[in-house]
């Protein structure tokens, strides 16, 4: 897809009047905000506030939940991903996802990373080799696994597994990378490696990350959104949210008065 300059100026992910229902439950309420290109946007808020549900709206993973229904619009690169006729498969190639628990496939490290490209019909061994190498490098895992690419991905440590999952997600060269609490199952050392990685990744991808850890949001993100009971309470640059929050509820949350 050719991109004009004005396209590039547009925010990459625009959320307009977004409502999400699970059956009769209104899980998200009229969300409105933009995520600029090449930034890390962090979503914080207490459990059940809707931040993960919102993340799953961006690659339409909520489609699998029976009774889930979306109103409003989500524009990625100016295209409404909920318009009729949108190819969900193509959307998920553009919007990658990393999950809370490392979930490598029970295959070799190589096959894990090559999974996405193979789905799109890449068969040429050299192209695949190159994609696997660059993706593992991109996920800061190459040096640790380059001599054992044919060993099981499930044999790696938790932190390595999560980086493998990141490599797998970026192997399809998405534009947006969704991360759903990617470090909540990891030890502090692995966490800091992943955080470092996320800061590197934003030069190539727009990153949307859900986190329970407010220090993490403060450390790695450019923008922060605070969710409460399905509403977006406040959204702004991370430094503003953490130093001079406008809303009293945001202040209470980040200073640890609740949640």
């Amino acid at each position: 897809m050719d991109k004009t300059e004005s396209d590039l100026d547009l925010p990459q992910v625009r959320t307009q009047n977004l409502d999400l229902y699970y059956g009769a439950d209104r899980v998200l309420r009229s969300l409105n905000f933009d995520i600029p290109r090449g930034c890390v946007a962090a979503f914080i808020g207490p459990s059940g506030c809707g931040k993960s549900s919102y993340l799953r709206c961006l690659n339409r993973m909520n489609d699998f939940i029976s009774g889930a229904r979306v109103e409003g619009r989500v524009l990625i690169d100016g295209e409404d991903i909920y318009a009729s006729g949108v190819d969900v498969i193509a959307l998920r190639r553009r919007v990658g996802m990393v999950f809370q628990k490392p979930n490598p496939f029970p295959m070799s490290i190589y096959e894990n990373v090559a999974y996405g490209p193979r789905l799109f019909g890449v068969k040429d061994r050299e192209t695949l080799d190159e994609t696997v190498r660059s993706s593992l490098e991109g996920a800061a895992l190459w040096n640790e696994v380059k001599d054992k690419l044919n060993t099981p991905g499930t044999g790696l440590s938790g932190g390595q597994q999560q980086r493998l999952c990141i490599a797998r997600a970026i192997a399809t060269e998405p534009e947006v990378l969704l991360m759903d609490e990617p470090t909540s199952a990891l030890d502090p050392l692995s966490t800091s490696r992943i955080e470092e990685l996320i800061r590197d990744l934003k030069s190539r991808f727009t990153v949307a990350i859900v986190t329970h850890n407010m220090q993490q949001a403060a450390r790695i993100s450019d923008y922060t959104a605070f969710f409460l009971l399905g509403e977006l309470v406040e959204y702004g640059t991370t430094s503003q949210i953490f130093t001079v929050p406008v809303d009293k509820r945001t202040e209470d949350y980040i200073t640890g008065r609740f949640g």
């Binding site: 099981p152 499930t154 997600a169």
Partner: protein
Amino acid sequence: MGLRMGKSETTSHHFGGWGDKAAARTAFSVSTICILIMGFILYFLVKESLPVLKATTLSELLFGMDWYPQETPPALGMFPLIASSLAVTFLSSAIGLPVSIVIAVFTAEIAPRRLRSLVKPLLELLGFLPSIVFGFLGMVVVAPWLQARFNLLTGLNMANASALLGMMMVPIVGSLADEALCAVPRELRDASYALGATRWETIRRVVLPSALPGVLSASLLGVMRATGETMVMLMAAGGAAVIPQSLFDPVRPLTSTIAAEMGETPVGSEHYHALFFAGLILLLITLAINLLSAKIEAKGLKTKGGNL
């Protein structure tokens, strides 16, 4: 007083206390008895089958082409029986396993929850059908149809028995494979969908390979059932001790041979010992299938990297 009672109560439940010891001893003796019984079965099988080697040679037994055990002297060549057993096992697996796996994929992955809760118990119910019902079905339904449809001398043949055995595998293999597929974690499917895979791609590339060990052991149970099945063979396989040349030739597997002839032969005769030897061969065949599948499973795990 109260304190002392409390104390004695805790010691009686204590780790390594009498309760623990009793449980350990019970478990030990029950499992020892089971192993001993298995050992005795094996012992008698070997003991009763070995005397046949006085009457004939091992290679004549295994590779001889003539099975006329009632003649004098008896011809005890079991090759046609062994070939029949293997052929029926292979053919019924070729029919039954793919059907079972397709059904398992349907119930586990594709069917809506309500349909699944209807189909699954039905499938399991089918598994409770006694094999004589299948045999009866083969005699009165399948055989006449085959005979008329393909203009055969008899409808009681290898194709008939294999089709029935294949059907008998489906409930067991299907419902066990269904459980293996359902046990594949939700997270793996999510990861696949999030990478832009369709449902079919996810089933084929992630779910089935992840469930492979479970699906394999389910299939193995089915294959062993086919090898050991007696009643259907007796009723529907035709019973001719020749090497089958076509799908529609009657066959006489080891199992039905034993069942049909054991009652007719004098205890201690060469024929009697030969039938025990047939049982020993059956045991070895199932053992071989078991070892083979364990090897395939281990190899599959190594290359696929699964440790589920």
